[in-house]
């Protein structure tokens, strides 16, 4: 019983990070019907931005709330700028081309960023700054609730609430929903479609930036290929929830995190990474539109 609880805590904590990253995939898909493969590398670059910022400010080893805030901001801003550049220079010129062109470009950008990171940051892993002191806040028998769990969960919830507010209670959010439903109609309303797409990239990549700091807090080791596995899992989480649905991405992320934890805990830890692929195959066979996906009819 106690280890069930412990696995649940870990699973939710990791799952909420998957959810944050999955949101970026799902939002960009919702508005462009395109899978932004470079999202995982934007996340990776966010980690390096935090790493260098902490070094430059001399706060690698001064854990605390201010460090958390500084790293979150740095990472969110860097991820935003990078993804704005990717959108502007790699995706926007291909907007009217067939979807497969932007898909291939996305893979290209993703590889380019991996190689650039290896070239400039080095291929060897680096230690992520210490964000918070990881104390045990609460114990119940063998179950321990740690600062990192609470922070990861708390920051994720705040980010998701912020996202919900943005999407449903601001003009930018209204524009995002309109553009993803029908870009032509949206521009007939006076909505600037390009600017709205750019805003979507900023929001999605900021969430990845938040994710990168939270992951760094739990696994303080970063390297240029770190985005691949977590990006893939977050992508599967987005598909599981129904790509294009923000609610689905959150739920998909949590399911992914929790099921991984339980499989690793009760079956075999070597199966941990296989879960993602198992889930992917399962959804594609049983419900290709995912939990919250709506069946889209091809427009003529």
């Amino acid at each position: 019983m106690q280890d069930v609880l412990q696995h649940l805590i870990n699973g939710i904590s990791y799952g909420s990070i998957y959810a944050l990253i999955a949101l970026g995939y799902t939002m960009v898909y919702g508005i462009l019907q395109m899978i932004n493969f470079a999202h995982a590398e934007v996340y990776m670059m966010g980690s390096y931005a935090s790493f260098y910022a902490a070094k430059w400010l001399g706060i690698e080893n001064s854990p605390g709330l201010s460090t958390l805030a500084i790293l979150l901001l740095t990472s969110m801003i860097s991820c935003s700028i990078l993804s704005l550049a990717i959108e502007r220079f790699a995706y926007r010129p291909l907007r009217k081309a067939p979807k497969i062109n932007s898909l291939i470009t996305a893979i290209g950008v993703s590889l380019l960023l991996q190689f650039l990171a290896q070239l400039f940051f080095g291929a060897q892993p680096r230690a992520f700054p210490t964000v918070l002191e990881n104390q045990t806040l609460w114990t119940f028998g063998e179950v321990a609730l740690k600062t990192s769990d609470v922070t990861v969960f708390g920051v994720s919830i705040l980010a998701m609430l912020g996202l919900h507010y943005l999407i449903y209670h601001t003009k930018t959010g209204q524009a995002m929903r309109a553009v993803s439903a029908n870009p032509t109609s949206a521009s007939l309303m006076g909505i600037n479609v390009n600017r709205t797409i750019a805003a979507t990239f900023v929001v999605g990549s900021s969430l990845a930036g938040v994710g990168s700091v939270l992951v760094g807090m739990r696994y303080p080791k970063i390297d240029p290929l770190m985005g691949m596995m977590i990006g893939l899992k977050a992508f599967v989480a987005a598909v599981l929830g129904g790509i294009g649905s923000t609610m689905g991405a959150v739920l998909g992320g949590l399911i992914m995190g929790v099921s991984e934890e339980f499989v690793a805990g009760y079956l075999s830890s070597t199966l941990r990474d296989a879960i993602a692929f198992g889930l992917l195959i399962g959804i594609l066979l049983l419900k290709p539109t995912g939990l919250f996906g709506r069946a889209t009819s091809e427009k003529v």
């Binding site: 209204q174 309109a178 439903a181 029908n182 521009s187 007939l188 309303m189 006076g190």
Partner: protein, 238 residues
């Protein structure tokens, strides 16, 4: 009495890849007029409206109230007062009726004026008031068309571009909608109406143009075209 031109279009051309859909149109819409654009399927009516709204690239010149807007982006044209109810209505089916209407007022900020205009729309279309909280996709075709026109009005337009408002609707609903178009015009709204339903469109039009494969082949007052033999044969089925 001089009526200034809301639209003055010179040599308007649009191509979709190798297909030239508009081969150089010249026409005018004056303030306070209902101008109808009629023509068969594929004549280029929708393309003309798309060019005026700026959602398709065009060559030639488009003047709106005297200013050249040929290179202006679509959203800025909405800001100037050009509002279109597109072919197929283009409502946002997953959103509520109210939210569709608030998107019509997307570029406006004065909440008091927006609420005023919403009241006016509701007065004009009581059905839309009844449906306000409903998801737009669940409305009937006629209601969706009314919503599309309402949504246009929420931007406080100087001109309404209507693309086949009668499409797919029962005759009773069509005449209801045409009555509303006429009453809007009587209150001063300039209307450019595109229709396959040529009879109705010519009846309410002050002037009209006939479009055939990307060219204007005839123009005159609504009454003139209604009694023109070749128009009667080609478009009125007489």
């Amino acid at each position: 009495m001089t009526r200034d031109a809301v639209f003055k279009v010179e040599n308007l051309q649009v191509s979709y890849g190798p297909i030239q859909a508009l081969k150089g149109l010249d026409f005018e819409v004056k303030r306070g007029e209902i101008v109808s654009l009629i023509g068969g399927n594929g004549a280029g009516k929708t393309t003309t409206l798309r060019a005026l709204s700026g959602i398709v690239e065009s060559q030639g010149r488009i003047f709106f109230c005297g200013t050249d807007i040929s290179t202006m982006e679509a959203p800025s044209r909405v800001g100037l007062g050009i509002s279109q109810s597109p072919e197929g209505r283009g409502i946002f089916p997953q959103m509520s009726v109210l939210e569709n209407l608030s998107l019509g007022a997307y570029l406006r900020n004065n909440k008091v004026e927006i609420a005023d205009d919403l009241e006016k729309c509701f007065a004009l279309f009581p059905r839309i008031r009844e449906r306000a909280k409903q998801v737009a996709g669940t409305l009937s075709g006629g209601e969706q068309q009314m919503l599309a026109i309402c949504r246009c009005l929420m931007s406080r337009p100087k001109v309404l571009l209507l693309d086949e408002p009668s499409m797919g609707l029962a005759p009773l609903i069509v005449s209801q909608i045409f009555k509303i178009i006429v009453s809007l015009n009587q209150e001063g709204m300039t209307v450019l109406l595109v229709e396959q339903n040529a009879r109705m469109a010519l009846k309410i039009a002050h002037r009209a143009y006939v479009l055939e494969t990307g060219r204007i082949v005839m123009t005159g007052t609504g009454a003139e075209l209604l009694s023109n033999d070749s128009v009667r044969r080609a478009y009125l089925g007489i």
